[in-house]
Symmetry: C2
Subunit: 233 residues, 2 copies
DNA sequence: GTACGTTTAAAACAGACGTTTGAGACGCGG
DNA sequence: CCGCGTCTCAAACGTCTGTTTTAAACGTAC
């Protein structure tokens, strides 16, 4: 994933894609989500995009590079939005116009995730599902670049939650962040374990409903009092 | 996934595998977890198992059938253990020797998951990761059989949690179960979003540590007071 | 010892895969 | 008119896939 270059005023310059390249990107995004990287063939992508097979290797260099392009197009604006949310919260807390608590930190993730889920023009919930696949499948393609280019994002969230929950050890904070993000992330991705068993009464695809139920759940979890050690010193 | 037949006393009769078949099962399990179903070739499996390529199609019918066998061998004993835990809780609650609360219901899932994670001879954490991949990749192979053969398990958990949280609507109970299972499941599977960014301070692979942190988190979330509707009638 | 079902072995099958090639179509400034 | 990038197209490349075939080795019962 190459980071997009920045123009003079700092706003990202999206690489211009020809119409053919765009059709490939969109078909690929949908198919990668539904079938996964390995199971999606270039022939299927080009067929659904209505373009020639060789166009993929012309516009993108390879199948792997196409996957990176599909991912970066959606991920980078989203990650930048998360960063902006954190910075805005810090500014408002410094100005005394906002409380710096766990809910405020959490909303710095929920708001961008909600906005993304509701905006099909940016990939919508489809991209969150793609991200989820990438995570569980642990793709070699993205491991390196994600930690190099966006590792600081996680560091920022960790620091923020630590500041919002001052009584906790660093280890405890890391766990709450881990568990909180886990449930929020998989909820937005629509990963419903129970649905696999055909018995989920939850319509886990409506973003507003997700927020309504997931926010109190995670907030309660993050604020939970740690269990007293039963026999440790 | 064919269910194993039962002997007279109700204990499952595990199909006898020849040594060759067993070596295939074990190599396949490891590779399916690491690489996924599509990316794992039969040649790689047989090479690592030290057996001939054709042995797969002889002992198992096809690659898909091998995958089902790998999955069923681990899943069915686990699911039966979950069922037993629920039945034991109901019996003890009826006898007045246990409280039927959210924690008790939750532990009916945590105990089997913990036992499985710590027992390499039953697949250990490896199988939970395989299960997680199956879930996110939404495999055609397992969708039908899981809901047909094990859907009632989810129904049982839903009823149990509803009984443990009597003040809540059915929808609310379904959401708490969904979110609670989601975080527990992905925690046991070691799905660490933050690790993908190279910044997780959490050593999410120690089952005892997982339980220590995930139980208070989920308990707090499940017991959370629902948010008051802000403007609804 | 010979016949039998079971298991292994090596080789070959047809098809799908990602990628490359080389020729031709298009728009555009000269 | 030409010349030159940009882009599309059909065809072919070599490799890998799941599966099948053929033959040989094995243990066991008669």
């Amino acid at each position: 994933m190459k980071s997009s270059s920045l123009s003079d005023d700092g706003t990202p310059v999206e690489p211009k894609y020809s119409e053919t390249a765009l059709r490939i990107l969109e078909a690929a995004e949908r198919l990668f989500v539904e079938l996964g990287l390995e199971a999606t063939s270039l022939r299927l992508i080009t067929q659904q995009a209505g373009v020639n097979l060789a166009a993929v290797n012309y516009h993108f260099r390879s199948k792997d590079a196409l996957f990176e392009a599909v991912f970066a197009r959606r991920f980078e604006p989203w990650a930048r939005e998360c960063l902006r949310e954190l910075e805005r919260l810090e500014a408002r807390a410094a100005a005394g116009t906002a409380r710096f608590d766990a809910e405020a930190v959490m909303m710095c993730y929920v708001r961008p995730a909600l906005a993304l889920s509701k905006d099909p023009s940016r990939g919508g919930a489809l991209f969150v599902r793609l991200f989820s696949r990438v995570l569980v499948e642990n793709h070699r393609v993205l491991r390196e670049t994600l930690s190099r280019d966006w590792g600081h994002l996680v560091t920022r969230y960790t620091e923020a939650l630590g500041r919002a929950l001052p009584g906790l050890s660093a280890e405890e904070v890391a766990w709450r962040l881990h568990l909180g993000f886990s449930v929020m992330f998989h909820a937005f991705a629509g990963n419903d374990i129970l649905k696999l068993f055909g018995r989920s009464a939850v319509s886990a695809r409506d973003p507003d409903l997700i927020v309504k139920h997931v926010v109190p759940f995670v907030l309660a979890g993050m604020g939970a009092v740690p269990r007293a050690e039963s026999s440790a010193p």
